[in-house]
């Protein structure tokens, strides 16, 4: 029994995945997505940490409702001013979920590849299954550090031209300016998450459709999150929306989590009526 469980643990830590949640454009839902996906995966019993790379602003701890328990932060750990375990905050609702908060008193120059790499390696050694890196907006240092060590990327995009263009730019960086690209390893697996989607507006021609976005970006669709008041309410409360299963946003994020973990789930929230959207999408 003992040997079985230890073998399992070893396999798990070897398979820890670094996932960057990125977009280029700001305000599209990166932090919301990081919080919900991290929570959702942790709800499945996986050990998950969400790292806030938005040094200088600090949002993730607020959205995840742990801002009052921040003592040390990511930059303190990078600079050896605190131990990793002193900075990690354990979630009060989901046992296997942790947050590594950003510093509000530093700027993005405090991040360097050597330090970030060391922290990520330490998290891997601690047996985290998923290390979710919440990227800041833009394509500057903070964003580049967030993506540098990624194995996978979730590209968050709004159905709007400038957001799609920025995501395209970020996909270019993911293919060129990351550890995997520089060492000629297998390319980062990229997933598209379309947020703030409103089928009614798409119908009226006021919003890009899923098909339009996929045509330009050309990466697999992980899910569509509908535009909803629940997102704002849950951010303000510090409770990730996925924890209240009655909302459509929670349902959408749960789908995303299960799809991400390898389960087949039909896409929802793409059309007003639930009918053959696949036919329209790919037909």
């Amino acid at each position: 029994m003992d040997s079985v469980s230890s073998t399992k643990e070893a396999t798990v830590s070897n398979a820890s995945k670094v996932v960057v949640v990125t977009s280029g454009k700001g305000g599209v839902g990166k932090t919301t997505t990081s919080a919900n996906i991290a929570t959702g995966i942790a709800l499945q019993g996986k050990k998950v940490v969400a790292i806030d790379f938005d040094v200088g602003l600090r949002n993730l701890d607020l959205v995840m409702g742990c801002e009052r328990r921040v003592v040390y932060d990511f930059v303190n750990v990078i600079r050896n001013e605190a131990k990793l375990n002193q900075a990690l905050i354990r979630d009060k609702r989901v046992e296997t979920l942790y947050v590594l908060p950003a510093s509000q008193t530093r700027d993005k120059d405090a991040l360097d590849a050597e330090g970030v790499g060391r922290v990520i390696n330490e998290l891997k050694e601690q047996g985290f299954d998923y290390i979710i890196c919440d990227s800041p907006a833009g394509i500057e240092k903070g964003a580049q550090m967030a993506m540098y060590f990624a194995d996978e990327a979730i590209v968050v995009t709004n159905p709007e031209v400038s957001s799609v263009r920025d995501s395209d730019r970020v996909l270019g960086l993911l293919a060129a300016k990351t550890s995997r690209a520089e060492t000629n390893s297998a390319a980062i697996r990229t997933h598209l998450l379309l947020t703030r989607y409103s089928p009614a507006m798409v119908k009226k021609g006021e919003m890009l459709s899923v098909g339009d976005v996929l045509e330009l970006l050309g990466i697999p669709l992980l899910g569509v999150i509908p535009e909803s008041k629940a997102v704002l309410q849950s951010s303000n409360k510090g409770t990730p929306a996925i924890l209240d299963e009655t909302t459509d946003v929670a349902q959408a994020y749960l789908d995303v989590v299960f799809r991400y973990l390898g389960e087949e789930r039909q896409h929802r929230f793409i059309e007003d009526q639930k009918r053959g959207f696949f036919g329209r999408l790919f037909g």
């Binding site: 263009r165 395209d168 730019r169 996909l171 270019g172 960086l173 293919a175 060129a176 330009l216 050309g218």
Partner: protein, 241 residues
């Protein structure tokens, strides 16, 4: 052998020069970025005495090009040019001015033209050209916004979409067998026979050997179609395939 960008001055008005230079380089920034520039003052004749050479050199650098030398400069101004960090060019300039680049009706403007290869042993900073045509460069992954791919001395074959904001540049022919939504350049170092082939034309800009068409100038009938682009009388012609 090397080819140079020549800045032929017809005015000593630095503001005018800067405006036109910036307008020119902004059309294809990657072509002009860090390009060595030869400044030809021949058209200025006697007016050249009024040209502030060091300010001019600073201006060209501010436009992200490198002023290398001045041609047709009277001997009396040589120290000023050297002081400004530029050499004196005594070789021939066989200017091949692209059609339409110098409208005869508007005098006093500086113009940029490509010069055909000139012997490089007299110059120092020239673009590095490998001697032989090494076969086409083939790209199989999407070219995303912000990415620039330049096939030096070669054809460029792209088998994946070129997205808005991306630039694909070939010194020879350019082939894009997927949607072409970015900027495409063929004959980038001045090869008027170069052509562009697109399977699905949705480009922002297409250029051959210095002549270009912008998105607005592409006839709607050509959009979304398989199209080839070639030079005819110095202008880009689009033809469905």
């Amino acid at each position: 052998m090397a080819s140079f960008t020549v800045l032929r001055l017809k005015s000593t008005d630095l503001e005018l020069i800067e405006n036109q230079l910036r307008a020119k380089t902004s059309q294809l920034p990657s072509l002009f970025l860090d390009a060595p520039v030869l400044i030809d003052v021949a058209p200025l004749a006697d007016e050249v005495a009024a040209l502030p050479l060091s300010d001019l050199a600073r201006l060209v650098r501010a436009c992200q090009m490198i002023p290398v030398a001045v041609a047709h400069l009277p001997d009396g101004l040589r120290p000023a040019a050297v002081e400004a960090g530029m050499g004196i060019w005594r070789g021939p300039i066989q200017a091949r001015v692209r059609a339409g680049a110098e409208p005869a009706s508007i005098p006093s403007i500086p113009s940029i033209s490509s010069v055909p290869p000139i012997p490089s042993h007299e110059t120092t900073p020239a673009p590095q050209l490998s001697a032989a045509h090494g076969g086409p460069v083939v790209v199989t992954t999407p070219v995303r916004g912000g990415q620039v791919i330049h096939a030096h001395n070669n054809d460029l074959v792209v088998l994946a979409p070129v997205n808005p904001g991306a630039q694909v540049i070939a010194d020879g022919h350019l082939h894009v067998y997927a949607p072409m939504r970015g900027r495409g350049v063929a004959g980038a170092k001045g090869l008027p026979g170069a052509r562009i082939f697109c399977q699905k034309l949705e480009a922002e800009l297409l250029a051959i050997s210095g002549a270009y068409v912008m998105a607005d100038e592409i006839p709607p009938a050509m959009r979304g179609r398989a199209v080839q682009v070639y030079l005819e009388n110095g202008e880009c012609r689009l033809q469905p395939l």
